[in-house]
């Protein structure tokens, strides 16, 4: 397993490099010049502008600029926010915990929904339960997160007054009350994100369990008198989860996309809303850094998916 981990880590490096190249290319191709407002300012002579450009290395070849940018990113020197007047990494470290908390719990919720529903649907395909579950799954992943979010706010905050619709990072409570308020304010963002993911995962789980459940070894397990529970949980599900993990890994970028929307609706102070706010405020250093952090997170979660893969199917780890 350790060997496998190292191999996967080594594979993650080129993809991180690839992503950094993509981001940098977009930035380099983009029109506009950080010193454009200096150009229109009559009190600054062109010579000073040229000197500034030379000082920041804007006239260097693209490769040199890319390498310099990459080294700076890797060293944690992510620049200075033009709007908030703080270092970019401080901003990101403040915002990251909220994002990870909401995403993490929503994925747990998605699993709690998708696994049992998918397995039960596959055990009795085309039964009433299966059809209802299937219809709900379709509705679930056809409802865009921004609309579900608004519907939840409308129902639970505005009509019923049960839940607050603005998320606060620092709640002014302690002890049990803090826990309760935290639970109340995070339930809506987590539900929105988790149910959306859970709906599509339900279909993956169902399809995959359906494929496995008709294999001969499952019949053998039943024939030797194992209880249905043991057959399903120990023999079927573990193998059925392998393709599910692949599909889930492919969806990770979409999960982060959903997180941006949810954070924006519920004003969760995570890196998603940091990204939107800095785009609206033209704060380029923060935008670049947050995009890079999102890429790193995607790679990290892909790595976790790979490790899960190795755990579910030990043959993969030894290959």
């Amino acid at each position: 397993m350790g060997n496998y981990l190292i191999r996967r880590l080594l594979i993650a490096v080129p993809s991180l490099l690839g992503i950094s190249i993509v981001i940098f290319t977009i930035l380099a191709l983009a029109p506009g010049d950080p010193f454009s407002d200096l150009a229109t300012n009559p009190s600054i002579p062109p010579a000073v502008r040229m000197a500034l450009r030379a000082k920041f290395g804007l006239d260097d070849p693209v490769m040199v600029r890319y390498l310099r940018w990459l080294v700076a990113m890797l060293q944690g020197d992510w620049g200075f926010s033009l709007v908030s007047r703080v270092d970019v990494d401080t901003l990101i470290w403040q915002a990251l915990p909220s994002t990870l908390y909401v995403i993490g719990l929503s994925q747990v919720l998605a699993l709690i929904v998708a696994l049992p529903v998918g397995i039960l649907s596959a055990m009795r395909p085309y039964s009433i339960f299966d059809q209802i579950a299937n219809t709900f799954a379709f509705i679930g992943f056809s409802l865009p997160t921004f609309f579900t979010g608004l519907l939840f706010i409308l129902a639970f905050s505005i009509k019923l007054h049960w839940l607050p619709f603005v998320y606060q990072a620092e709640l002014p409570y302690h002890g049990w009350q803090w826990l309760w308020e935290q639970f109340k304010q995070s339930i809506m963002p987590i539900m929105v994100l988790g149910l959306f993911q859970g709906a599509s995962w339900t279909r993956y789980v169902r399809a995959s369990v359906l494929d496995v459940i008709q294999l001969d070894y499952v019949t053998t397990a039943r024939a030797k008198g194992l209880r249905e529970r043991v057959v399903i949980l120990k023999h079927v599900v573990r193998n059925a989860l392998i393709p599910v993990v692949t599909l889930v890994a492919l969806q990770i970028p979409a999960i982060f996309g959903g997180a941006i929307v949810t954070e924006q609706i519920f004003r969760v102070p995570g890196i998603g809303s940091l990204l939107i706010n800095s785009i609206l405020a033209n704060d380029t250093p923060v935008i670049m850094a947050v995009t890079f952090v999102f890429s790193c997170l995607v790679i990290l979660f892909n790595l976790i998916a790979d490790l899960l893969y190795g755990w579910l199917d030990p043959r993969i780890a030894f290959r």
Binding site: G18, F141, I153, I158, G257, V261, I279, I299
Partner: protein
Amino acid sequence: MAGSTLASPSAEPLDGRLGKQVTPAQEAWRRFRRHKLAVLSCFILLLMGLGVILGPTLWPVAINDIDFSARLAEPSLAHPFGTDDLGQDLLARMIYGGRISLAVGLAAMMVSVIVGTLVGAISGVARGSVDAALMWLTDLFLSLPQLPLLLLVIYLFRDTLKEWVGPEGGIFVLIVVVIGGFRWMPVARLVRAQFLSLREKEFVEAARALGASTPHQVIHHILPNALGPVIVAGTIDVANAIIAESTLSFLGLGFPPDIPTWGRLLYDAKDYLDTSPHWALFPGAAIFLAVLAINFIGDGLRDVLDPRRVL
């Protein structure tokens, strides 16, 4: 036909004897019809399509008629979907916005299917190092964080394109290209997998033995047989592209306020949720219905085009 000799005494002309002849299209329709929800979805989508195309003639209200006396009005006979904070008629705005939303979905699907088919076909035909490089690129794109990059690209290129093609055309082209450009990967993988298996099939081998050039094999034999899953993926892509465009507009970074796409309407409505929920509910429901219908149609098409997965 007098004088024509039949191959054997018992052989008769076939037509009219086997009862009803079933063409592939009829067979496909028979299978598609079994998916009741897909048929219903076709109907709903057709209605929506007709609605946004014929809507302006049936409901000739200007989308930017400001009427402060009817500010935030609830749905009524004068305004079937109510009005927004400037008293603009929501039905008219939704008809106009629906055109853009559905057009973006279709156009972005075209971009992703064309790019994906090209990449998949090239790597399926070429194999070797070209294939490896293209698949590496596909995997790389699959692990890009799409929404952040979409936002980044739009943030950086918005103003230039506006100067080139005008405000509406510019942002339309940008959004279509960018959404399509980040969604071609599944199609590329599908097409490549199809190509790899089809090119070893006997009928392709026969064509090769008859001296067909590679482009001929691809265009006449491999591609038509690889299209089934691509059509299914393309259908689902329309739904995803509609969601992507609405998401961008909902975040305030898509179309400008004077182009009321459904997502943009939601963005404008979200601050008035407590007093006039109808403003958010109608465009939201429209997005949901369109996406749900397209997803169901995709599911029905899968039953038709992917026989292995039939009920």
